[in-house]
């Protein structure tokens, strides 16, 4: 203890200069292809990503994760693991009774699952192993013995919503429900000549940024500040969540952003951060923790699989009359962005088309699958698969060119969304169709 670690180098790495060869005489910079300021560091290998950071005396972390997707932890035995040469510390829940749960929106994720508590998916952490080398940490992790009492594994949100399904969390398995009700859908369907009703299903997707979750940390005892270098999409939010979890003041947690190797929603959530902080504070030494690809895929958020029911009514002259929808999203074991994703999809249920009468309900539902959170599109990606399939199906039923059918119903200034938001500026949806039609030489639906 008391050793000083030289961290200065890493504070300065994000300062970046922008060169603009050939643009020296221009007075306009917006709207021009100014070269990317960070590209030079990235093509030379100079850019420092989290796993590229290392300190003298640095320790390495591996985490023992759940052995069953839904089970009560009955016993955890670290005695053999502690004997592995190079192991410095093995942290279990009983070592950190003061640490609180964390989570992006709902704080429902345990930092470590304790004896008598539940593991809810295979990514839950049971113990943090801190060792002189990655190999020692891994060896010790694999020697940790765990006894569990297995519970019913719920993998299907429809099963999760049944009355006799065991509750994954104390308040039941439906995390959140939202409603949409605009106009009068009964009347709209009564005015419809064609009604198309379908069920759509999307899948679990990994954002798969090339850089896995990774970070380094060290505790500055003199200042009482834990410094964490880790990639995140929102520094200040991660700072706040880590601080509340560790019961520290916000300014006692410093998050420094190294270069980020992609995110796409996956780096919204806390990953390595709290485990790093705890290990750094307990050992007084710099620590590093990098997920393997496998660990990243099992442990961190996925795109929600959503079951979408869509019932769409249209008049025979091709105007949308009514749209009724239901979204059931599998949010997995923890809430993450789930309380915001599924209904955002529903809020976009009609796509960019005028429809006076809209009704919908959405549920985000807990299961024992890997938790689902943010991924590029945030629920609206799944929604678009449903609404743009519906639109195409209807156009074919009407015998209309799908592009013409779209244009006939497309939003303009003054249109209202399913939320009743009146669009009062920047609505050029029609022009997007016209330009795609022109670029592609589109000539109606049947290209054969």
């Amino acid at each position: 203890m008391g050793k000083k670690y030289n961290v200065k180098d890493y504070y300065c790495k994000h300062t970046t200069r922008c060169s603009t060869e050939g643009r020296k005489k221009s007075k306009r910079f917006v709207g021009h292809n100014v070269l990317k300021a960070d590209a030079w560091d990235k093509v030379t290998g100079d850019a420092v990503y989290p796993d590229d950071i290392s300190f003298d005396d640095m320790l390495h972390i591996k985490v023992k994760r759940a052995v069953h997707p839904h089970a009560v932890l009955k016993n955890i035995d670290i005695s053999k693991a502690l004997k592995v040469s190079g192991v410095v510390d093995i942290i279990t829940a009983e070592d950190i009774p003061e640490v609180r749960q964390y989570g992006l929106i709902v704080r429902d994720q345990p930092v470590l699952v304790g004896v008598g508590e539940k593991m809810r998916y295979l990514g839950d952490a049971l113990a943090v192993v801190v060792a002189e080398s990655k190999e020692a940490a891994k060896k010790a992790r694999d020697l940790i013995k765990v006894k569990v009492e297995e519970l019913e594994v719920i993998t299907d949100p429809f099963r999760a919503m049944e009355d006799d399904a065991p509750s994954i969390h104390p308040d039941g398995n439906i995390l959140i429900t939202h409603h949409l009700d605009k106009g009068d859908v009964e009347k709209g369907f009564a005015n419809s000549d064609i009604i198309v009703e379908n069920k759509y299903q999307t899948q679990f997707i990994d954002q798969l940024p090339m850089q896995n979750e990774s970070g380094a940390a060290f505790y500055d005892e003199r200042k009482g500040v834990v410094n964490i270098w880790a990639s995140t999409q929102w520094l200040h939010d991660i700072q706040a969540d880590v601080a509340q979890s560790l019961r520290l003041a916000k300014n006692q947690v410093r998050i420094i952003q190294p270069t980020i190797g992609g995110a796409f929603g996956k780096k919204e959530d806390v990953s390595v951060h709290i485990h790093l902080a705890i290990a750094a504070i307990r050992t007084g030494r710099p620590v590093k923790f990098t997920y393997t690809r496998e660990e990243s895929m099992i442990t961190q958020s996925k795109r929600h699989p959503i079951t979408i029911y869509a019932k769409t009514g249209v008049s025979k002259d091709g105007y949308l009359q009514a749209w009724e929808t239901k979204f059931i999203g599998d949010t997995g074991a923890y809430a993450s962005s789930g309380p915001a994703v599924v209904h955002k999809g529903m809020y976009h249920c009609t796509g960019p088309y005028n429809c006076e009468n809209v009704r919908g309900v959405s549920h985000a539902v807990y299961t024992n699958n890997t938790f689902c959170g943010a991924m590029r599109g945030f629920g609206t990606t799944q929604a678009a698969f449903a609404y743009e399939s519906q639109i195409d199906i209807i156009a074919h039923k009407l015998g209309m060119d799908p592009a013409e059918f779209r244009k006939q119903n497309i939003y303009e200034i003054g249109s209202t969304t399913p939320n009743g938001q009146q669009l009062n500026h920047s609505v050029n949806a029609r022009e997007t169709i016209e330009s795609a039609v022109e670029l592609s030489g589109w000539k109606g639906g049947n290209s054969k």
């Binding site: 605009k182 299903q201 895929m297």
Partner: protein
């Protein structure tokens, strides 16, 4: 046999957190004596290029070449909250905060300049990092010299601004509200594909995009977003699937979880609709997420066009196509 098909999808995306959730960005800019202009923002550059975007915006307002700028980002103890790099919000939110800070800084340049020249704003010109009297452009003060003199007087040549537009939480029972999202981005894509009826493989030949983005701050970066987003959307449409059975992932690794590679990608043609009509910086709207969204329905619609089979489940894998074609052939017998 290879069957050709064409499919279209038009999508909308309400960007920013919206729904009444507090959503703001704070940024500051300082002119330093040593010929640097420093922008401070916590906006995370995850590769999308927000660093370059904010430099271009500040350079435009401050009328000085982008190469004079540096960006300090990503340190909770040096930068203020800029929200997340998500919700397609950084160009609009942090871009706006940087623009406001640059405008205020420009006002400061005029203010301190007018003191130095003992003159008034309308008589002063600003260009290429110099402030001067219109009457005598050769008698100028550089930004760096001005920064030095301001510092001598005990001040700094800097400005900070925040951008915090309001949205409203939808009604609990009906989901209705006046303004749920700050604005919407619109995109239409046409996909041309070929379905190999023997292997079931879908090859995407061409993708044509019409994007309503208000203004492309950096057109090449916008193209990069369209191309990258579309290819992720293609992955969703035809191959990506994390298979979780009984809570256990069966394909946890890049051997079995397949994503598009360089041999899978189409040729792209893009068209930007730039009416500069949003309330974002220079009329810009966000583009990050929307670029992914149209791909899966456009491909599903193109598959229908090619082989007359409608798919309701993603991904549309070769085995699903082969199975569907077999069923269709049996029906037709």
């Amino acid at each position: 046999m290879k069957k050709y098909g064409k499919g279209m999808a038009s999508i909308m995306f309400g960007f920013g957190y919206g729904e009444g959730f507090p959503d703001h960005s704070i940024a500051s800019i300082e002119i330093m004596e040593d010929e640097r202009i420093q922008i401070k923002t916590a906006a995370a550059d995850v590769g999308q290029g927000v660093i370059t975007t904010v430099i271009q915006i500040a350079a435009e307002i401050l009328r000085i070449n982008p190469e004079n700028f540096e960006v300090i980002q990503g340190d909770t103890h040096k930068t203020k909250n800029s929200g997340s790099s998500s919700a397609t919000r950084q160009t609009y939110f942090t871009g706006s905060a940087v623009k406001k800070a640059a405008e205020e800084l420009l006002a400061n340049i005029y203010h301190y300049g007018s003191i130095e020249f003992r003159s008034n704003h309308p008589e002063l010109g600003v260009e290429n990092g110099r402030i001067f009297l219109y009457d005598d452009p050769d008698d100028y003060i550089t930004y760096w010299e001005l920064a030095r003199r301001v510092k001598e007087s005990g001040n700094r040549l800097e400005a900070e601004a925040s951008f915090f537009p309001v949205t409203y939480e939808p009604d609990e029972k009906t989901g209705q509200a006046d303004k749920v999202y700050v604005a919407y981005t619109f995109l239409t894509q046409v996909f041309e594909i070929e379905v190999d009826t023997d292997t079931g493989i879908i090859e995407v030949l061409n993708v044509y995009s019409g994007l309503d983005l208000g203004k492309a701050i950096n057109p090449k970066n916008v193209e990069g977003q369209i191309e990258g987003g579309t290819v992720q959307g293609m992955g969703m449409a035809v191959m990506e699937d994390q298979i979780i059975k009984e809570g256990k992932t069966l394909n946890a690794g890049m051997t079995d979880y397949l994503v598009p590679t360089s041999v899978d990608i189409p040729k792209f043609e893009h068209s930007f609709i730039e009416d500069e009509d949003s309330e974002g910086p220079f009329g810009a709207k966000g583009v990050g997420e929307p670029t992914l969204i149209a791909a899966s329905p456009a491909i599903a619609n193109a598959v229908y066009d090619a082989i007359g089979v409608r798919f309701y489940e993603l991904p549309i894998t070769p085995s699903k196509i082969k199975k569907a074609l077999k069923e269709k052939n049996e029906e037709n017998k």
